[in-house]
């Protein structure tokens, strides 16, 4: 989650509760459906409070809200698929030895590093990386699967050992 400032524990817990709430629970909290979706967006898309979603004050109507996000999703889908088609076409024309070979790693590093703000994420990432390297000789990408499973359960196991 990318934030301008560290959230207070109580604020983060409240946002998590709102993001996971059903429409009835949101009503109990005195919040609208849109506010629940926005809170989820802050947490799961890594948006910053005071920008992006907050700047859209015209999406309170559910019909407008859905039309807006369906349009955004369709536009992203078109650009995504077009870019894949384009790169499939021109990829073979590029020389094999270019700095582009590092691009996937750079993008993954760019996605992972902001998530390492939390201790559980750091534990998961380190455990997953080490397990993947150890299982590198497993067939059919087994090392990757092993890394994901070990990393996902590492924070739980570490917490249990420390208590």
């Amino acid at each position: 989650v990318a934030l301008d400032r560290p959230l207070a524990e109580s604020e983060l817990q409240r946002d998590l509760r709102v993001a996971q709430a059903s429409s009835h629970e949101l009503e109990d909290l005195g919040l609208s459906f849109t506010q629940g979706i926005e809170t989820g967006g802050y947490l799961f898309l890594g948006r910053k409070k005071g920008s992006d979603f907050d700047s859209r004050t015209d999406l309170g109507n559910p019909q407008r809200f859905r039309r807006y996000w369906l349009t955004v999703a369709a536009a992203i889908g078109v650009v995504w698929l077009s870019a894949i088609g384009l790169t499939l076409t021109i990829g073979d024309l590029l020389p094999a030895e270019t700095p582009l070979t590092f691009a996937p790693i750079a993008i993954l590093v760019g996605i992972l590093v902001p998530k390492l703000h939390y201790q559980e994420a750091r534990q998961a990432a380190i455990a997953a990386g080490l397990a993947t390297l150890c299982g590198g000789s497993l067939p059919s990408g087994g090392g990757l699967l092993l890394g994901v499973v070990v990393g996902a359960f590492a924070p739980t196991l570490i917490a249990r050992r420390s208590t």
Binding site: L100, A106, V109, G110, I111, L112, L144
Partner: protein, 103 residues
């Protein structure tokens, strides 16, 4: 097998996995240890992908110091600017320069 069928099947499985933890078994109703594991799944998956890519890159004859230097630069840029495009650009530039230095 028809590639279109494979794509459709993959899409269905992906959608089912997503909707399972939203509608059928909402995350808030799961035991805490599973919720912790689900939360850690994202960083774990990305770290595992980086480790796999790193291994593949080095096995293909690329210089490990060059890759590590580029990763360090990409991490520093992400922490400072949180901009994916800039991270990729700086990472690739450092990788290219480090590869030249390493011959």
């Amino acid at each position: 097998v028809n590639p279109l069928l494979v794509l459709c099947a993959a899409g269905c499985v992906s959608w089912l996995l997503r909707v399972t933890f939203i509608d059928l078994f909402p995350a808030r109703n799961l035991p805490p240890w599973i919720r912790t594991a689900l939360g850690a799944g994202g960083p774990a998956a990305i770290a595992a992908l980086i480790a796999t890519d790193l291994t593949r890159t080095v096995l293909h004859g690329e210089s490990l110091p060059a890759v590590l230097a580029a990763m360090a630069a990409a991490s520093a840029v992400t922490m400072r600017f949180q901009n994916l495009g800039l991270t990729a650009a700086v990472g690739m530039a450092v990788y290219w320069l480090a590869s030249l230095v390493n011959g």
